[in-house]
């Protein structure tokens, strides 16, 4: 993808002004780092970092059949959600492969808000919209991706940093907001949403705000830097943070051919909730037993594993690395790999790093225990 064709978020100028290194990602021109990936990683673990995630997509689902409709196209059980609750879930194709992983928030009895991956915006909305039209349910779906900017505030200091944007009343509600929940807020006099979610393994918030407020909000958050150590964070550290925390990255760790059971998100897959697209394929997979599954591993030998490198066990091909890199907080390097389902924690395998077989060991996922709660 050439830079000319890449889309820009409302914060593009702010990133360039801060001398961020800009790279194309998922069709967008995004900051990969501002100073150093490792320094930015540490900022989020120790203090607070802010991320421009405006490239993510948003869909609003309204109507008396909204819950019924979403229940039929996602793997998790929405009927368990209170108003203001959010849940990690995914949409599957008929083969049980993942169209995307999502967060669905319940804003009201008949109103839901979906956050989807940047690179899948068109694909996801096309799927949701066409499935909806075929269903004859009383639902309207609206692609609001261009309406919203999104800023993630992540790290142990994220509560006071995020709270400083809001009134005392909203601050008190924010403080009480449980993990994965969402609340409406007033931001510079306009309606916005704040969810207690993230992709770093730290306590954090994701603010959905009108695109026109993106730059003033971004600058207001950074002005708190003196007291709380707030720094802007690029996609490079976003990747090392999520990797340590064991979070999947669509396009790397899963795609249309990987099922949620294989990807290790069986905890979000409620097969017994009732019918949903892809369910039959999952039932079959469960009956036959999985042939491959996602594991987290750490390198024993030196070397850095990368996406696509072959995994070798007992002299034979046994899968491939889906995400790899350094573990800045934990130390060393490693990643996630889709391997033969017979491999288990503590087993050692080899990663083919440019022709050299380097030893790795399967560890508990995640390797960094999340502090989100």
């Amino acid at each position: 993808m050439t830079q000319e064709k890449s889309l820009k978020t409302p914060l593009y100028d702010a990133h360039v002004a801060r001398k961020a290194r800009m790279v194309p990602f998922g069709g967008w021109l995004m900051p990969v780092s501002y100073e150093s990936v490792l320094a930015e990683h540490k900022t989020v673990r120790d203090a607070c970092g802010i991320f421009d995630v405006s490239h993510m997509g948003e869909v609003r689902v309204l109507g008396s059949d909204a819950e019924k409709f979403l229940q039929s196209i996602t793997i998790n059980d929405l009927t368990k959600l209170p108003i203001g609750g959010g849940q990690y879930t995914a949409m599957l194709n008929e083969r049980g492969g993942m169209i995307d992983d999502l967060i669905v928030y319940k804003l009201g009895v008949e109103e839901f808000f979906i956050c989807m991956n940047a690179g899948n915006r068109a694909k996801d909305f096309g799927w949701i919209d066409s499935t909806c039209k075929k269903s004859n349910l009383k639902v309207t779906v609206t692609n609001e991706s261009d309406v919203w900017a999104q800023i993630a505030v992540q790290g142990p200091n994220s509560l006071p940093v995020t709270g400083a944007l809001f009134s005392a009343t909203d601050q008190a509600l924010l403080k009480a907001l449980p993990y994965t929940n969402i609340m409406p807020v007033t931001l510079f006099g306009q309606a916005a949403l704040v969810a207690r979610t993230g992709y770093t393994g730290e306590r954090g918030y994701e603010i959905y705000l009108p695109a026109s407020l993106a730059e003033s909000t971004w600058n207001a958050l950074l002005e708190l830097s003196g007291e709380h150590g707030v720094r802007p964070i690029g996609l490079g550290a976003r990747d090392t943070l999520r990797l340590e925390a064991g979070y999947l990255l669509y396009g790397n760790d899963m795609n249309d051919d990987v099922s949620p059971l294989e990807a290790g998100i069986g905890w979000a897959t409620k097969i017994d909730k009732g019918p949903f697209i892809g369910r039959e394929a999952l039932v079959l997979q469960k009956t036959r037993g999985l042939s491959r599954r996602m594991v987290m591993f750490k390198m024993v030998d030196d070397g850095i594993p990368r996406h696509g490198m072959a995994v070798i066990y007992d002299g034979k091909a046994a899968g491939e690395v889906t995400s790899g890199g350094v573990f800045p907080t934990v130390g060393g390097s490693g990643g996630m790999a889709l391997v033969a389902a017979s491999l288990k924690e503590g087993d050692e395998f080899f990663v083919d790093i440019r022709g050299q077989q380097k030893r790795a060991i399967i560890v508990k996922r995640p390797i960094y225990a999340a502090k989100t709660k």
Partner: protein, 126 residues
């Protein structure tokens, strides 16, 4: 740019410090800066012989891996174990303590064909 005037450079961003038939080889500070955080370096064992332009190892940042190319042909006589152990040190010192390998050059005349400090500086400004 703080380039040592006695060094010679390649367009692949390696430098060589030649004395007699001995060459000390490293990567330029400019290249290190472009790569970002250096997290791993893979260097050969002493005794290995390489042709000019052949990859003798890799240098890896948080996001990318790049080959290291021999600026001139030769045999590896020493490897910088300190850099191998702490590759991030290249970010503050790519020249003095940041050398990667010492070589016995096969053909000393190859050195003359490399860029001088001025030539390299104008190359990276292009």
């Amino acid at each position: 740019m703080d380039l040592q005037k006695n060094l010679k450079f390649t367009k692949d961003h390696e430098w060589v410090d030649a004395t007699g038939t001995t060459g000390i080889v490293g990567v330029t500070a400019y290249a290190i800066e472009q790569l970002g955080d250096i997290v791993h370096i893979d260097l050969p064992e002493a005794g290995k012989v390489y042709k000019t332009g052949e990859s003798f190892g890799t240098i890896e940042s948080t996001k990318t891996v790049s080959d290291l190319y021999m600026p001139v042909a030769g045999k590896i006589t020493a490897v910088n174990a300190a850099v191998k152990k702490a590759p991030e040190s290249l970010q503050t010192d790519a020249y003095k303590n940041g050398w990667l390998v010492k070589i016995e050059m096969s053909n000393v005349s190859e050195v003359a064909a490399l860029l001088d400090a001025e030539g390299y500086e104008s190359f990276i400004k292009e």
